[in-house]
Subunit: 764 residues, 2 copies
């Protein structure tokens, strides 16, 4: 459905962009040759393991490592104090810096307190992993167990156990003196909310609860570090951004970035959960102590206990509309768990949740609340799925109460270019209307759904997408091929989607480009692979780098023909003299002439786009509810998404399908289950229930292309928005199937049954 491209860029005949080549890393990955973190093997390498807290909240009174140190094969043990000592050792005079270092290192290894079950307390490096594990049992930690708090609304109350005794609330932009688990409270306002609700003929208000969920990447966290005698630290890891790891390490270890080289290995999924450095600083300090490279790999249990899942939340949404079906007011309250340290993605949830609609009066309040759970990290459209779930269920109920088709109701209220977002800015060219129209015209939406306990639900979602900094360099080979070095971790085929944008400029095939992900010493700064920014921004860097090459090659043709550079044009992979068209040479031929016209050609480019184009997705699901067990079966699922321009369509589809699959998992099954002691009870993939292919139908993808005018090829990000709509779409489908609106995730069989059995049709 690539219909709108011409309107924006006037380009209709891309040669490479939009095609479906074999990805460059494909063979390596299917044959098992690709090198992941666990494949790394260095001479004299040690292995290290982390001792973790059995308590949700406790004071660490003492740590006795003497027995562990005496175990043959143990080479070094570090605690939080060693991290601070190492930092002091690196910086002659830390001064006030020491406060920051202490805070930073406390998140890596406990200083005075442990803040959740699985909190890292100490680490042992040994000659093999078995000795390291054995040594953990020999470390004695004297804990004073403290009261803990897990529920986000309980945590907000005065008198709740404090995760941090010194955390003061920042309220509406002002730093207060109030000590609280609420690290911040913010508000956005548009129009006159009071008047809005007065104008409304119908109002719906609901409260929603969601649990902490994990990204569920296949590959556990791992890191290998070598702190060399000259102070240079080399780190090999599977992370979403090598430069991000470098930045974090520089701060935690108190060394300059130029002393750190991070070598990105292949990554087995991240979804936002592989941005923070958990093991890297520990491995580095153990290496500093021992002089050996130190390798660390988490178990799945450690991954679930102690990496960064996304926030559980409580959300309240109240919306009002007129009889004519016009949304006039929205009031939202978002309370998000940040886990043990401040910094939930509640801000993104608040910004994005109302963007699909043109609502003149809106207030959104957001609260970031610390609880005794792992510190949250990004997860695909961070913070937005929770909020969209709440908003879209309310939108669905309004449409129902107005007797309007849910798509027509959304079309009636859709945001467009020029309408104002609830959080302030005016919309640029966006594609929500095009997506809604595509749903309305689709076979799926117009198909009949028959049978008992079946229902169809639909929901919209928005994600703003990231811009950020990216770099690329490239060199031209004499055979007309190009070696491209770019800085973005390749999670979902971005080596190829980036190379395609370079190939398009130069009129060569993408197979003629050999892309590689550079280490931090080999390419310019490049932000993390996240925020759906990689194909957008790093692809732009490759595009710009190709321009640099094109200009230099053009200058070489001018040298060869002894004419002015201005007299040369480049079109369809051919350099040609404007004044004498008999002078023409292909890009590939010209590549063979570089040696005789001045030597090789290298290109380089960096970009920092001021803003990316936001993207919409609409998900349509048909469900069947088993009235005896409460199990929800997904009968059919379709996603309609505005991708701007699909550079590499099969991988765009893969992102859309993956996001929907994760959204369905979140909707139906996934949740962190803590017991009354704050102990995580389901820290394995048997007990933490992610959907498998048996749980899902083939997800049907509809690519809508409303090019982003802020990108050379019109790219918007594609990776994140598809996770946002599924929970609301599934909830609305369940309602259509069995008549109950479930406001809490996951809508697991037990909860569905409870809802169906309860009088008011809603289980809490």
């Amino acid at each position: 459905m690539a219909t709108q491209t011409e309107d924006f860029l006037g380009i209709t005949d891309y040669k490479v962009v939009g095609s479906s080549p074999v990805r460059h890393d494909g063979v390596d990955k299917v044959t098992g040759r690709a090198i992941y973190g666990t494949d790394l093997n260095l001479p004299d390498m040690l292995f290290a393991k982390v001792l973790r807290s059995p308590h949700a909240h406790a004071r660490v009174k003492s740590i006795d490592t003497s027995k562990a140190e005496a175990l043959p094969g143990v080479k070094a043990i570090v605690t939080g104090a060693d991290l601070v000592e190492s930092a002091e050792d690196e910086m002659a005079d830390l001064g006030e810096e020491i406060v920051r270092i202490k805070d930073l290192t406390a998140a890596v290894l406990a200083h005075e307190k442990v803040l959740y079950h699985g909190y890292p307390v100490a680490a042992v490096a040994a000659s093999n992993i078995h000795i390291a594990e054995e040594a953990l049992d020999l470390i004695t930690v004297d804990y004073e167990v403290l009261p803990h708090v897990l529920d986000v609304r309980e945590a907000m109350k005065d008198g709740a156990p404090l995760v941090h005794e010194d955390q003061k609330t920042k309220s509406l932009g002002e730093q207060t003196d109030k000590v609280s688990n609420i690290s911040s409270h913010f508000r956005t306002e548009l129009g006159d909310i009071k008047q809005g609700f007065e104008d409304a003929d119908i109002i719906v208000e609901r409260e929603f609860n969601t649990e902490m969920v994990h990204q569920g990447y296949i590959e556990p966290q791992n890191a290998t570090a070598h702190w060399n005698a000259d102070g240079v630290i080399t780190v090999w890891c599977s992370n979403q951004g090598a430069f991000g790891v470098r930045d974090q390490l520089a701060k935690i270890l108190a060394v300059p970035v130029s002393k750190i080289k991070v070598i990105p290995l292949e990554i087995g999924g991240g979804f936002g959960g592989k941005i923070k450095a958990y093991l890297e600083p520990i491995a580095a300090v153990l290496s500093k102590k021992t002089g050996h490279p130190v390798k660390m790999i988490m178990t799945r249990t450690e991954v679930l206990q102690a990496t960064g899942p996304t926030s559980g939340s409580w959300v309240r949404v109240k919306m009002g509309a007129t009889h004519e079906g016009k949304l006039v007011a929205a009031e939202c309250e978002l309370v998000y768990e940040s886990g043990a340290f401040a910094g939930s993605p509640v801000g993104a949830g608040a910004r994005n949740m109302l963007v699909p609609y043109d609502i003149p009066n809106a207030v959104v309040d957001g609260y970031d609340v610390t609880v005794n759970k792992p510190s949250t990290s990004a997860y695909r459209a961070p913070g937005t799925t929770n909020a969209v779930f709440a908003a879209e269920v309310v939108v669905d109920e309004l449409a129902e109460k107005l007797n309007m088709d849910p798509i027509d109701f959304r079309l009636r209220n859709s945001a467009k270019e020029g309408t104002r977002r609830a959080d302030g800015p005016l919309n640029k060219r966006i594609g929500h209307v095009e997506c809604l129209e595509a749903v309305k015209a689709s076979e799926h939406y117009n198909s009949k759904l028959e049978g008992k306990n079946v229902g169809r639900g639909v929901a919209s979602g928005f994600w703003g997408n990231g811009g950020g900094v990216s770099s690329a360099s490239a060199s031209v080979n004499a055979d007309g091929t190009i070696n491209l070095v770019e800085g973005s971790t390749d999670i979902g085929g971005t080596r190829t989607s980036i190379a395609m944008q370079m190939a398009e400029v130069l009129g060569i095939s993408v197979e003629d480009i050999r892309p590689q992900v550079g280490d931090t010493d080999s390419v310019g700064y490049t932000g993390v692979t996240g925020g759906s920014r990689t194909t957008f921004a790093t692809g732009w860097a490759a595009y710009k780098c190709a321009q640099d090459i094109k200009e230099q090659m053009s200058a070489r043709a001018a040298i060869m023909w002894e004419i002015s550079e201005d007299d040369i044009e480049f079109d369809e992979a051919v350099f040609q003299s404007k004044s004498d068209p008999s002078k023409s040479i292909t890009f590939k031929e010209m590549a063979g002439k570089l040696d005789s016209t001045g030597g090789p050609v290298m290109g380089r480019a960096t970009v920092k786009p001021s803003g990316a184009g936001g993207a919409f997705a609409i998900v349509l699901v048909d469900v069947e509810v088993d009235e005896e067990t409460g199990k929800v079966e997904i009968l059919r699922a379709s996603i309609f998404q505005d991708v701007g321009k699909a550079i590499y369509p099969p991988y765009v589809e893969g992102q859309m399908q993956g996001g929907v699959a994760q959204g369905i998992g979140w909707a139906l099954n996934e949740e962190y289950v803590y017991d009354e002691n704050g102990v995580l009870r389901n820290s394995s993939l048997l007990d933490y229930r992610m959907p498998t292919c048996l749980d899902l139908p083939m997800i049907e993808t509809h690519i809508i292309e409303v090019p982003n005018p802020g990108h050379p090829y019109g790219v918007r990000g594609v990776g994140e928005v598809p996770i946002c709509p599924p929970p609301a779409a599934v909830a609305s489908a369940i309602y259509r199937a069995v008549g109950v609106r479930i406001d809490d995730l996951p809508m697991s069989p037990g909860r569905v049954l409870e809802s169906m059995w309860s009088e008011n049709g809603a289980a809490k």
Copy 2:
């Protein structure tokens, strides 16, 4: 003695150039952390060994590998036929290409004939190196032994055994039909040689013999290759140029360069001997056959038998001078062994040997002759030491016969800017006179040499130095440091000498630059580290890359200050507005502002200098000859060398000392000893006698700086010329000590004794 810099460049106050920092790879190398080829360990790696010919010349009638294949643990065996088959497999239609492929592969593994003792015949890949070695013994080769020829003058004769039955002589530029071991004969002529000798009052004519000698690098050749299922070949090796290996492999394996990635590991010496790919193509084809990475390491015996030493030679020099001490004629004949394949460095010897002098009439004839010895490779100032030995001994004798001081005689005849070289071109600014004057003024030259059988000798030498292609890219870190990627294998500290040239431009310290040698996918084409070109050309690329960075940073300052780029100047590491000097910012500060002025900055540059500046060295040695054993003791040695500009003085001195040490080894002890069957009898470092530190005094270095006007900092190459003068200087010193002129190398104890005992004072 850095006296001349100001005259040329007007720069007297370099901040970084000329300083002596700790080299960037220093700690890695002294702590054993640096990764050399043998340190590499890949998952599922196989090990391979080569079966070599026991004969100097034989026809290979058949190879039976069946028993070896049956040995448990043997994974694959390849012969020359497999290399051709692999190439045919890669190229659908080889056509005429097949002839070239056959020739190329025959040098890697025998096709129909073996051409020297140690010639590679087959290779076995096995699960470990012991099985691979065992399997070699199970391969049966049926040889028909052929007559062989070792002596270069015998090989020239009609009726000599032919190394190649189809090799036709190229004579004076014309391809003839004459089948011969002489692959080519060339001549350079200047003036009127007949008239020249008629004008001469005194004529000296001598014939000289030198034996094949080896570079003697510490690290044996090694290579690991992985031919991936997608056709991409990755090669790890310790070679003087990763791109050179890529080029060779592309030709031998018949695959495009863009399918090959060569990763340079650290190198334990090369001196020209690590340019050719011996093991790499074998490892690659074994990997293709097995699907595994394949690692190969030579033993020292294999290194001596079958890598590329430099030519043995026969040289005749006849020179004439007037009573006034003016050289008027030179006639030289150079006959060089090329080993088994054409391509000795006789051309370089012919070009360089007379360059120190202004001789109006000169003829030089050169012959490239194949013999049944290993194919020669480059060795420090390739081909020039043999020729300089001959020329300088004759010059010494002329001076003696004219009763002139040998330095005065050379000053009288020295080449200068504007004089014509015997091989044609006019001299640019050169430093021979400055070197001679430095010798004359030196304490060493003016010191008294007392005792029995002691003598002092002096000789000049010239090497043209290489230019060639180099590339560099770099990125600026936010802390004002720079990551530099350059393409030159670092043998002698060039990471640092290259980084220094970048640091000088930007006014930062060399410690603020982190240089790394890129693989062939990560940086633009860069020629081999050889020809004394690396600090010259790759340093220039780094200089130019720094200019690219400086310009972009300047543009960013313009953005920040909202002024024109033209209004900004950069001096002493500070960007400043010309119109408003209050606007100024250091390079480091500006690096911290890049994120807010458009994102990171990367630089890139490639260079292809049209010609490098040639360099002169003069070596002065004092010897004592033991009249009972003939052993020559080097009492004192000094070298005076025009380096252009010493970027990194301690490493310039290291090159000078290393070259003199190798020249003394060549002069006194080193030689390949073949028996009557053409079997190499001294293929170990016990029997192939290289000088140790016990054999040498501390070599005194005198750096003369006559800047090369063809380089931004005035650099000339420094690595090669110091090896040229020692043999002649030692020979002249021996003559002064004991009255015999020895015209054959090495001047080993036996040969010295023989010369002293023979009636005419010269042993043949």
